[in-house]
């Protein structure tokens, strides 16, 4: 088995080398030779269509495309019909090659390319272009007649909002850039395109607004993306992991969003977006701590309400991290900090519980995480099952059986629910992970351990600076001007009506 594996690998390497050697060569003038070569290359690829077009009874043209990826109507009406019925254009002295003919007569509006390298031609065919090779010519014409099936534009599932656009990205990169371009209709919006993935050759676009973008970030993004050596990109997550500052942080270092308006807002703030074909999730680089606690429609709602909500959010974010460990520290180590009546009640409820508080909380936290994960994975039809089992078995039965004390259920579920208040979903992951080390620390050392844990998290946040942007900006390092967008959402200036027409309307 092992030997087989080895020789298999060797074979693979050899064929790889062969095909790369070949694919870098140019096509010849002999159409039969070209056909043979390409057929070898697409050996066993049943979805590749080779179509010979006979003119005056002999093979003059060869049409190659992927079945189902191109719009056959265009090919039929623009290439096949004129050539088959009218034959080669006559009397046009200026046209002396098929390529030129295609360019100037047949595909007068479609974007076409003239290529002579096998590798390039194959790449284009696979991306949905139709290749036309002519006898006696050593260039192929590639017409972009792709017609890609895709899912309709829908409201993003994971980023619902009360207000704002309902558009969400889809799996087709071009559609996504169109959505962005519609919002930011300026030539300054740039889409730098590149291909990543030795096997998948995935199209990736770096989007930014020239003049607004922070150049150090853009250069860093370019540098890191160009360094990526990977076989496949199946989701933007692959890119995220390849370019993030450190893997050893629970905090996300870039924003993942399905909403074009969120990407546009990021670009307008001088950030860089990375879009990737095949996924509806765009990356916006970099993310900071406070942005993690903000939602996109914060900027669409009225500022007083949003400011209040931001306070609530921060409060619950801290609450969700700290509540279980504070509970442990207070009840186990510093009961005199808890008001006496409350402590009495807790002690009474805990009387029957056989397990130490730390273990109890730990268990409940684990079960909560399990329920959460199960809720995501379960098919929709049996989804309600999780909530029933969770509520009945864990909530009711465990408490009434005396295995788990009631305050623990309250603590864990309150903390768990509050972690879902965080609008950037992935930011909540960080808080959920951090709950566990804090639990252990406060179980060991009480409030001192909790302080140690919080300080360690704080230090981690301070030294984290994805793409050169300090994670805690604008709080540390302080930036007073931008500080008003952290816990408040400062109102934009009102539109000022001036000018002769409006003057009369003003009070």
């Amino acid at each position: 088995m092992k030997r087989f594996g080895k020789s298999h690998l060797k074979n693979k390497l050899e064929t790889d080398r062969q095909s790369t050697e070949n694919s870098s060569s140019n096509i010849s003038k002999n159409i039969a030779e070209n056909e043979q070569f390409l057929k070898n290359m697409f050996h066993n690829c049943s979805d590749i269509i080779f179509r010979e077009i006979m003119i005056h009874g002999e093979t003059k043209l060869l049409l190659i495309h992927v079945d189902g990826m191109i719009n056959t109507d265009i090919i039929t009406s623009n290439v096949l019909k004129p050539l088959m019925y009218d034959g080669l254009p006559q009397g046009l002295g200026t046209i002396d090659s098929i390529a030129q003919m295609c360019e100037e007569e047949l595909f007068s509006v479609l974007p076409i390319k003239k290529l002579s390298n096998y590798g390039d031609i194959v790449d284009h065919i696979l991306k949905g272009n139709a290749a036309i090779l002519a006898d006696g010519e050593n260039t192929a014409v590639l017409a972009d007649v792709s017609k890609l099936e895709h899912r309709a534009i829908e409201e993003p599932f994971n980023e619902a909002s009360i207000r704002g656009s309902r558009e969400g990205f889809i799996e087709l990169l071009r559609m996504n850039t169109i959505m962005l371009r519609r919002i930011l209709a300026t030539p300054k919006l740039k889409f730098e395109s590149l291909k990543i993935g030795n096997v998948t050759q995935t199209d990736v676009v770096i989007a930014y607004i020239e003049g607004t973008v922070s150049m150090p970030i853009l250069n860093e993004v370019r540098k890191r993306i160009n360094r990526i050596q990977i076989d496949a990109i199946l989701d933007s997550g692959y890119i995220e992991e390849s370019i993030e500052e450190t893997h050893l942080s629970p905090f996300p270092q870039m924003l993942v969003t399905e909403r074009p308006d969120v990407v546009a807002a990021g670009l307008l703030h001088g950030k860089v977006a990375i879009l990737c074909n095949g996924t509806g999730c765009a990356l916006v680089v970099p993310l900071t701590f406070w942005e993690g606690l903000q939602a996109h429609d914060d900027y669409y709602e009225r500022f007083l309400f949003v400011s209040l909500i931001r306070w609530v959010r921060s409060l619950f974010a801290f609450f969700s991290v700290l509540f279980p460990s504070v509970y442990i520290a207070l009840t186990n180590f510093h009961p005199n900090l808890v008001p006496q009546e409350l402590m009495m009640t807790i002690a009474m409820l805990r009387e029957r519980a056989p397990l130490p508080t730390v273990i109890e909380v730990f268990m409940m936290e684990l079960i909560f995480e399990g329920l959460r994960e199960a809720g995501i994975r379960l098919p929709k039809q049996i989804g309600p099952l999780v909530s029933i089992v969770g509520a009945l078995v864990i909530g009711e039965a465990a408490v009434s059986a005396g295995i788990i004390s009631a305050p623990i259920v309250i603590v864990v579920s309150a903390a768990g629910i509050s972690s879902f208040i965080i609008p950037r979903f992935r930011f909540g992951y960080a808080l959920r992970i951090l709950r566990f080390p804090l639990l252990i620390l406060s179980g060991l050392f009480g409030l001192f351990g909790l302080a140690i844990g919080i300080i360690a998290i704080l230090i981690h946040l301070i030294q984290l600076s994805p793409f050169g942007t300090p994670y805690l900006t604008p709080v540390a390092p302080q930036n007073t001007r931008r500080l008003k967008d952290v816990l408040m959402r400062w109102p934009r200036k009102r539109a000022i009506y001036t000018g002769p027409d409006n003057e009369a309307d003003q009070p």
Binding site: I455, Q463, P477
Partner: protein, 364 residues
Amino acid sequence: MRKLSGSQIVWMIVTTEIVAIIGINITPAILISKQDTWISMLVAGGIGAALTFLVVHLSMLHPNQTLTQFSQALLGKWLGRLIVLPYLIAWYTLSAYLLRSFSGFLKPLLIDRTPLWIIMLLLLGLMVYLTYSAGITGIGRYCEIVGPIIIFVLIVSFILNAGNTDWHHLLPVYADTGWVTILRGSLRPALWFAGPFTLLVVVAFMQNPQKALSKSMLGVGITVVMVFTATLMVLLVFGPNLAAKIRFSYFMYVRTIDILNFIQNMDIFIVFVWIFAVTAQLSLFLFVASYETAQLFNVKNWRNIIWFSPPAILIMAILIPNETVLAIYDQFWVSVIFPVCGIGIPLLLWIVSVVKKKASESKV
């Protein structure tokens, strides 16, 4: 190395000084100047500001140079290095002293059953993490977050206890003590207002060193105001006689806060916040000590010193057997270390740099 902003200097001074003065220096001052300690604190603030001025001004004469660099430039290679030695001794021993005394303070309050060395090790771990991972920039940012929290907590503690105050505790003003006693009481806080000469190193890392003077004065100013208010509140609540008997009078003061008979024993919460600030303080000393050691021995990367300095501090801290030694060290600090490192050497260096500057100007 990224640089420090002006506000980071302010908060660094506030965070590192406030905890030491309010934490350990209020009661000793009250022991001496009784009900006039609040005047002592103002006097101390004045002296501290003057000493800070000296140190910062000296640093500003040598932009982008830390103590070791400019002392060598001024006094020559060997004398310049020799002069740094007392500072290194001061910083290393002070770190050990503070680590030991703070852990000793925490142990009975928060974690009775845990051995002292574990507490020290955990605190040391945080210091190393902060200093190693982010250097002086990280310490600056850390202070920028912790400083405002401390000020906020202090102000809240003042407001909440306003109901328990009694003006009669302050009477009679001045008559009982006289200016000599007031001055004597202001001595120790004054040394802390001046800080343990970390500014000799830190100013070199500032983004615009021209602002160093105004920012450090602002930092000292905020500290003085907060310490003054804290002292005043302690006196107003306890009166001088009772306050003098309580070792950590400010924490006991917080203990008297009682909100609706529901929230009590707030001192533990204050201690909780104190841990944040003490971490900042100790990290700053660790950074300064390590950086200057590296400079002294011409080590290119000061982070390599981190392998050596924290264990040294921990061993020293563990070797301190009891409170008596701490008291002796404290006395030693006031009578020997501070006069030498805080006044003597800076003054000498300042005179030399001014004379040299004059000489070079006259040459031109």
